[in-house]
Symmetry: C2
Subunit: 322 residues, 2 copies
């Protein structure tokens, strides 16, 4: 019994062991397990060899366990139970759970969505923890490694192993400070083209490189995937560069717009959120801008997990109210 690295040790063998301890009879243990006396005897023999102990000896009344077996019995039962529980279907009760949930969101989304979300979350799952993460270098990796459970944003196509659902639609609007020359009139494409533009981009590049969008954070995609409307409009007017500066996030963009005559392109809910604080004017885009679709994204294989499913549903519910 020196180094039982229990190779070849079947769980079934241990169940036989358990049954034997309780029944004190090879035959009855067999009946209980739905096996032949022979099968149990063979099994017992295998146990004896691997554990290097007689385990049970024949006596007047039944197979009496060895001291070793008697001592190991309860321990084995306990370990088996623990294993059972470890492998049991995960049940999830938000009210009880102390799980840590991690959500990947852009600063824009944490501003727009987080307040409502956090309130519900804390009410429904008071002992659980909600972590919001920005700026993951790679969303897919963050999801893969479990650093985040769900990513929220406007994603391009993601790998096959991800699943998604739509949370809400988001319109891109132009924002100017209230003293801005264009603040009063409604916006025309020409007027827009004549002004300096501020675009939000995490990387600083304005080139949307398809296929790796997912890797580069959420902001960028948000800005650019208005169906190409902005770019098309600018192209048509012969504007060489489509923007004059970039900001790393929408909040910064709004703050800059508040202090300069630069126009910022920004999700409408974000603009509304800070309109008052920054004294901003919201201008509808003078071109056909397709609304952005904000998605929740998660690993397909985790979708069935009750905790993840719950969080996803919470996201959907809260997004509906935004």
């Amino acid at each position: 019994m020196k180094n039982v690295h229990f190779p070849n040790l079947d769980l079934n063998l241990l169940k036989v062991f358990e049954a034997l301890i309780e029944e004190k009879s090879v035959t009855r243990a067999g009946e209980r397990l739905g096996l032949t006396q022979s099968a149990v005897s063979h099994a017992l023999n295998r146990l004896r060899v691997t554990l290097d102990d007689e385990l049970f000896v024949r006596t007047a009344d039944g197979m009496q366990p060895t001291v070793w077996a008697m001592e190991a019995g309860p321990k084995v039962s306990r370990a088996l139970g623990q294993l059972q529980r470890a492998l049991a279907p995960t049940s999830f009760d938000p009210a009880q759970s102390d799980r840590r949930f991690a959500l990947g969101v852009s600063p824009y989304l944490s501003a727009v969505l987080a307040p409502r979300l956090v309130r519900s979350f804390r009410t429904l799952a008071p002992h659980a923890e909600l972590v919001l993460r920005h700026q993951e270098r790679s969303i897919s990796e963050a999801l893969d490694t479990g650093r985040i459970d769900i990513a929220v944003g406007a994603f391009g196509r993601a790998g096959e192993r991800f699943d998604r659902c739509t949370l809400f639609q988001e319109q891109l609007v132009w924002v100017v400070r209230d003293r801005h020359p264009l603040a009063c009139a409604s916006l025309t494409v020409e007027a827009l083209a004549a002004q300096p533009h501020l675009i939000v981009s995490v990387t600083g590049s304005a080139e949307p490189s398809e296929g790796t969008l997912l890797e580069q954070g959420l902001e960028r995609r948000l800005i650019w995937d208005d169906g190409g409307a902005y770019r098309t409009a600018m192209d048509r007017l012969g504007r060489t560069s489509s923007r004059d500066m970039t900001a790393p996030d929408s909040l910064t963009a709004l703050a800059i717009a508040a202090e300069t005559d630069i126009m910022a392109l920004c999700p409408i809910r974000m603009a509304r959120q800070f309109q008052q604080a920054f004294s901003l004017v919201i201008l509808k885009a003078p071109y056909e801008s397709r609304p952005i679709e904000v998605n929740a994204l998660w690993r397909k294989d985790n979708g069935a997990h009750p905790a993840i499913a719950w969080l996803k549903d919470l996201l959907i519910a809260e997004s509906a109210a935004i």
Copy 2:
């Protein structure tokens, strides 16, 4: 993953699971386990089916565990470790152990042996418990069921499944009170035959029925197995009954001898122990009395158990000093 009553769930499968969690690679897990990549893949597949979860998905860097797998991982490891420990070779440290040891002894032996034994026991194993039991209806059953770990006494032949060792030799002597007519002279067979005798017998019967001696306690055997010397001596003088009364244990016998002119047959160490207290005189038997052999008896299959072995060795050591 509804009702994983884990049938057909091999421990090896769980080891594969563990390895996968740590290696995040089917190939490397295989190497670690000494299996083919293919074997591990098949195993993983089996796991997936039985646990009804993807468990691991291919990603850029390795097989990333599912949330479920990630949560189950540590639990499974812990349970596996517990199992490992439950099945690990029993190590026994008397200084640490809080085990309960049970010894089957006769009243005589507990008077003679227990004092020394208990002292050593408490010194060496201060947290362990020593239980001394008398009067087991069946020694073999007590050993079989683990009610006692070791029986001490003078046993006839015991079942094949028992092992034994000699602890010490014991002479039977006659005891009389100091006012007794025979107190001063040395004993002759004739003088002995003329006096009333007191014999110790648990059952009250003086017939030693071979083969079931073990079942009937220890005292009886102690008395009668002086090689038949007493009986032979009496027979030779034509004494019809070999004794005039019986007592259930040696201590009672000595107490009676102290108050009457009845002579008691008793192990010499017992006699010495109470000689002073009861004002007794010890008389050597006037016939060739073979010394009784006091044995320790235990279940053969428990002999290897370190705790039992320790207790046995302790018994031997203490007996040597008696």
